[in-house]
Amino acid sequence: MSTMRLRRDPRTERAAHRIDGTARPRFDLAAAAETTGGRLRRNPRAEVERMLVAGTSRRRLDRSQRSVSTPLHIAAPAETAAAPRLIVIEEPAFLVAVVPDAPGGRLTPHDRQMIGAARLLAEKGGAVLALLAEPCEEIGPAGADRVLLVEASTGYDPEGRSASIAMAVDGLGVRHALFPESVDGGDIARRVAADLGEALFAGAESIAANAVTRASRGRRVEQRRAPPRLISLAADAALPYAGAPREARALQDDPMPTVPTRRAILAAEIIPADPARVPLGEAGFVVSAGNGVTDFDGFRAVAAALGATPGASRVVCDAGLMPRAAQVGASGTVLEATCYFALGIAGAPQHLQGIARCEHVVAVNTDLHAAMIERAGLAIVADAQKVMPALLAALECETETTA
């Protein structure tokens, strides 16, 4: 015979949760559910509460399950917004160096992507070290844990700069060093590779902790391997870092010493681009005319006075009022400009595609409801025909006062 099975006595269990001091019998069954070691139960109400998106007037649920188990408190988002938590890595297991171009101490989008890629390589306990030519404030929020100044001697001296970077990469035992495959970044990367006598994985098009790939043999073959020490990263191959800001602590108190070079470069001067002749796709500032512009001599004068490259919408190019090479949009040129100034352009989807990558847009249009007005950072509802001469006059007046 078997021993007798232990049996539950629901009546005494229930009696244990009875709330004293009330005339009618009352039981605290919520506490009961937690204490009895029985089957785990879902609480759908609490789950929904956890999915609630804070800060919207309409009730919205985020079902992506990314937001982890912190139930919604109204005060919580305000706290985090006030002081974003700084991520500190005290004792990194290894270093991943990045060498941003950072012209004038400002990171380019390509630099940010590269730091994002470095974060992928530094995932398991590593720290990202930025080797900078000049101090840069944005580097911590962009994702760098450490910074080190490697100053080249004055003027254009890529040889000196690459020699000090090579010294830093070698001396600090950096596991990976990333460069942007840009004009100056690619040059420095190859110089460092030659200095270290190592191969460079040039123009990586995808990057992860276990493999990098690049095109070779005239883009017919894809090379793939575990990430080597020196990598240069093509543009738009990685996403920029989007997490909480990093510490950007100085690795040493004083910058890397400069390495004496032969100084074969006797002089260097920058020749600024002539905006009237730069290809539209390369231009940094484009002024564009649409169907709302009738005075094209005036328009060209405005473009010249602003120092901008002239562009146009398709209607204008079809009418032969501007050359076809000036057409902006899906069937024309896709711009890379920092600023786009649209005069009398409605903002058709085909046109907006061409300016999707422009950071700043200024629009002048008579129609308050034009899509271009909505897209613009500074939108002016006025007659372009009257604004253009006013612009010319204002610019002329400024040059007179400064002269």
Binding site: A193, A199, R224, L239, R277, T338, F341, G377, L378
Partner: protein, 253 residues
Amino acid sequence: MKVTVLLSAGLHPVSGRPCPAAVELQAIRLAHTLGTPELTGLHAGPAADAVRDALGQGLPRLLWLETAVEDDPLAGLVAALATDRPDLILAGRQAQGADDSGLLPYALAKALGLPIIADAVAIEPAGEGAVHVVQALPRGARRRVTVRLPAVVTVHPAAPTALPFAFAAARRGTVERRAGQAALRSGAAIDERPYRKRPKLIAKAAAGASAADRLKAATESAAGGGRLLVDPAPDEAAREIIAHLRELGVLRR
């Protein structure tokens, strides 16, 4: 002036058949802008059929260092250039059909102890023993660098287009064949597979953001969320625009 142009075994970007790399033909043209230099082409590789076409596009003489397929061309090139001692060594910015890393001119300059200037679009003589090299920078800007010779200069695709092909010149040109140096390529074996185009990663919203953030970012780019001025006087509009452009830093004056 003695000028040597490094020629690689290129593949045509469309047909994939052997042909000289376009940017190296542009380098030959740049060499011609330096007056009448003593111009030589230098190629190391198993065959010279592809680069021979360069003889029709402005190159009078080609020196071919014959090596096996698996040899690293660097050692042979360094030896040849060390004995020949040209004043200026021109190369393309990147090969087109080999490893395409653009590293060879740098390794060569290091081995020869010469300075290297990248991305030239023009070269002008600058008195005795120096040249002005105009470099291509992004956004159409240029940088004029004065460098002491001898030097290595790589050429950018924005340089003037190559000279037209002339059949008679191609027949006249000479190819000198020499034995190259056997040198095994260093470096780890790399896995190779047919090329697959990868989508460009454009950060619309920050990676890892919640769905709500992504939606916000997607709709925000359509609406600049900027300032709107309705029917201002033209002068006021002009002042606002100039002030705004100046704030963005695009107005130079």
